[in-house]
Amino acid sequence: MIAAAMTRTEPVATSEAAADDGIVIDVQGLTKRYGNKTVVDQLSMRVNRGEIYGFLGPNGSGKTTSIRMMCGLLTPDAGSGHTLGFDVVREAAQIKRRVGYMTQKFGLYDDLSIRENLDFVARMYSMDRRRQRVDDALERLGLASRQTQLAGKLSGGWKQRMALAACMLHEPELLLLDEPTAGVDPSARRDFWDEIHQLAAEGITVLVSTHYMDEAERCHRLGYIAYGKLLAMGTPGELVERSGFVTRNFSGADVGALSHELEALPAVTMVTRFGNTLHVNGQDEAALDAALAPYRARDDLHWETGKPSLEDVFIHLMRQATDNFS
């Protein structure tokens, strides 16, 4: 409260300092250890201006930790990098002013109203035209009529939208969203993503972590992290292609028992079950078809050529990682 009223004297960097080569996040070898556990290990990645970069990985893989290091909230134990052209270790203050970070856990105050929350955030950034900005944000959210409602009473979807509005208040160039749609219903998620695409179209760069595959598909580029290591990077199409997966879908009444049988075949890399359909993935098309020939001939099974899914690719990546690192 009082804090925001204090004047700040640190120099505002000139725009020359900001990255103009189109790279917004550029980190090399970021490493973070807690105790003797390496939570993020030699992470190097780049995010280009205006793109939506999806950050995927299983629980505890180090997504949140990486994001915190990128916005200067955590000091890496090794490695270096720039966000928006500012050093992540030494120029954290400049980064914070230009980045909107939406924390994984709801970071606003349940016992303040929507308006009070937004106003508080605006004060924290010591913004000018505070009232105007808060009004605009409320308008954009469609919350103008409910602005006096306590944030704690909002549903999950509205909370997330409000949190997004809060980190958009200071018009950041880069948004870091840490699992923004966890626990949000599908239609609210869709609205949320429409908004993200809208923002990207306006030139804002977005780094978003998620566990949802449909959301991953909506990103321009993806990075997949497991055990603190970045295992794969590329567009969703590239990732699928690079995996070399060929997929055959089998459907039938009793595919459950079949699943294990198929997975035991050497040519089959992975079998995933969707209801009454099995997605059978292999990496060598000829060998896969040869191995599956007896099943294709069966009357009680219907088969077709399928499309490898991102999810299968990621699960495959993670299994490989498990074999390699633990």
Partner: protein, 365 residues
């Protein structure tokens, strides 16, 4: 029930507190607390030296209740020592005492007591009548033996300074201010900051350009105001409900309060940098609060405690604040008399602040 025990075992701090607090309590109540304070510092203002003076000093020294810390001070010095609390009693031997005594005029000896805490001086004052009879017994023999019947050869004139009627409220009510401030300020800041961390709002705050120090100042400032509101409420109650006199300067009191509030806030902040959740912050508050009320001289006379307990007491801010506020309200002390209690507060604050700053996480590391 098993689950509770398992959870308890995981939460080391809670466990330590549950064991630690009763032990501390037992130690304090069992060993430290003594309702019968002895060896109270006494100064002698001797306007006349002589056999009787020496015998009186020796008698006081030999008694359990008095400890003569200076045997030849001036009136003004004695006054100051009483005001600053260095001396609990001042005995004045008037000029011509020996002559008057030998003539059988039953002269008066002035014994002044710092009676702000009636409990501290009561037992000692109760013992002096007996002392009057025995003190000069050895000197009044032979020709002077007739002066030594059942009645003592001299009279005590006892002056209970600062609280002549021995009203306990005069002592308790100002002290209560310190206790309430300690409790609320430490708890509020401790809880306030750990709550932000626990709810995840701290991460959000740190992600904004505000500096951690500003966050702190922003969190603390309201509590300073709350602290002053409490002070005013208690002062009003002291004045109009309990009729506690107010001898000193109001502004000076406000200054002392400020130093004390600041000291408590640093404790609160430092605790919050160590506590991992609100429960722990709460427990730490009690861990600090308990010795504060028991060892500061609020509940029991400070000088009634053994040395080790007094040393601990000297570290606690409440101890010094009690002396300050009693000094201002009851004794009407000015800044020079208060300074000996102010610098320990400042020192305490500085030390705790250093620990706190070391522990405080600028980022989330």
């Amino acid at each position: 029930m098993l689950k509770e025990f398992i959870q308890l075992r995981r939460d080391r701090l809670t466990f330590a507190m549950m064991i630690g607090i009763p032990i501390i309590q037992m130690a304090l109540f069992g060993f430290a607390i003594n309702g019968d304070p002895k060896y109270l510092p006494t100064v002698i203002v001797a306007h006349e030296q002589g056999t009787y003076t020496r015998s009186l000093v020796r008698a006081l020294e030999n008694s359990d209740y008095f400890r003569v810390v200076a045997s030849d001070v001036t009136d003004a010095q004695a006054d100051r020592m009483l005001a600053q609390g260095q001396a609990q009693f001042a005995l004045t031997i008037p000029a011509g005492f020996a002559r008057a005594l030998e003539r059988g005029e039953r002269p008066a000896l002035l014994l002044e007591a710092d009676a702000t805490d009636p409990g501290a001086t009561g037992p000692a004052l109760g013992s002096v009548q007996q002392l009057a009879i025995s003190a000069l017994a050895h000197d009044l023999k032979g020709t002077l033996a007739h002066l030594q019947p059942d009645a003592p050869a001299f009279e005590w004139r006892i002056q209970k300074r600062y609280n002549p009627d021995g009203i306990t409220q005069y002592n308790i009510v100002p002290g209560l201010m310190g206790v309430i401030l300690t409790m609320t300020l430490i708890m509020m800041t401790g809880l306030g900051i750990t709550r932000e961390v626990e709810r995840g709002t701290m991460e959000n705050l740190l992600a904004t350009p505000v500096r951690p120090l500003e966050v702190m100042v922003g969190k603390i400032a309201p509590y300073i105001i709350i602290g002053y509101v409490q002070v005013l409420v208690i002062l009003l109650a002291a004045r109009y409900v309990f009729d506690v006199p107010f001898a000193g300067s109001f502004m000076l009191l406000m200054l002392c309060v400020l130093v004390f509030i600041a000291a408590n806030l640093t404790v609160g902040i430092t605790m919050s940098s160590m506590a991992r959740n609100q429960t722990q912050a709460m427990q730490m508050t009690f861990f600090f609060f308990l010795p504060s009320i028991l060892l500061s001289g609020f509940m029991f006379p400070f000088r009634g405690m053994p040395d080790w307990a007094q040393w601990i007491g000297e570290v606690l801010p409440l101890t010094h604040f009690l002396r300050l506020i009693r000094g201002v309200m009851l004794k009407g002390n000015g800044l020079p008399d208060l300074w000996p209690e102010i610098w320990p507060l400042l020192l305490f604050m500085l030390a705790v602040m250093l620990v706190g700053l070391k522990r405080f996480r600028r980022t989330l590391d």
